[in-house]
Subunit: 77 residues, 6 copies
């Protein structure tokens, strides 16, 4: 898990959103480093509405950070 | 899922709120890409008070970001 | 659902709080547009402590946004 | 429920914390206006660890807002 | 419960973190003032992973406030 | 638990993320100081999707703080 986060700066809001998704996933990897266990859990939560909403909440929190880091990409609007 | 988020800037607070709803939904799509599964889950959580409140929480978090990006639409008040 | 959010600016903190409550409710309406279903859910969550606390959390998140938009109504203190 | 929130400005951090507690409770009152129902729910959640932690989370969110409104009471440190 | 929060300013990040833990606990005390009940609940949630994570979430929210109040202790880095 | 948090400043975003993970864990340690109990809980929540997502949420909240403290590491982009 090295060099996975060189910067919070992204060229577009969409790329910033993708980074937020990545930031949400890495904490799961660090807490459950066994890929086999994670692979077993994935269909479980991907088919559970509550879990999907909870994932979306984590992404929202990270997106706030990434958006602030990028000055909300205001120069592009 | 490309070009769905060209900017965080919206003409009105209401359009900003709609964008927050969209931002909340995209994370669900990225985590559960199968539309058929999502369609099956929708009536389930749309009829569950706890899930609806949780969705509202995600929207609130994204709305905070969108509102900040737009300087709270202060010029229009 | 048009013209329900012309501005985040409110004359008083109390009006700002009321707006936060409204912002919390609209996401529920957009996710569950059927008023009959919402009416059926309401007594259920209004009588459930966990749901009431969760609603209060959503309101708190929106109130943070509305308060920031209004410069915390500092001119009135 | 009128005139319950004239200002977010408080003389001390402690008074700000008390205001955060109040802000957390008002959303519950507005969602469940029947005092008799609320009185029945209170012992239930006051004896439940998860509910107490959830209440504390709402207070934390409001305290962030009140603290920002007061410039973190820096002049008094 | 008086004079427990004279200031949000702390000499170090660590002291700021301890203050965040305290801020998280006080809301529980105010909601459940009976120390005997709280003592009974403690082993219950201290042995429950979900409750421990939820406590950590409250601390994180308060730490954000305390860190901002202290200008992130930047002068000491 | 002394001297574990000398500063919020980190050389890179990645190191900031690692610090966020640490900040999330310390609150758990302070609430459940018994390492044997924590060791028993770990496999339990590391194999539970909901718990992993909740941990990720706490990390996201702390990462927001650490990122702000570091000016979002903008000088390095």
């Amino acid at each position: 898990m090295s060099d996975w986060l060189p910067t919070l700066i992204t060229p577009t809001p969409e790329a910033g959103y993708d980074l937020a998704v990545k930031l949400a996933r890495v904490a799961v990897k660090l807490t459950q480093p066994d890929a086999a266990v994670r692979d077993k859990l994935r269909p479980e939560y991907a088919g559970d509405a509550d879990a999907l909403i909870a994932v979306s909440q984590v992404v929202a929190t990270h997106f706030a950070t990434v958006a602030a880091a990028n000055g909300y990409w205001r120069g592009q609007s």
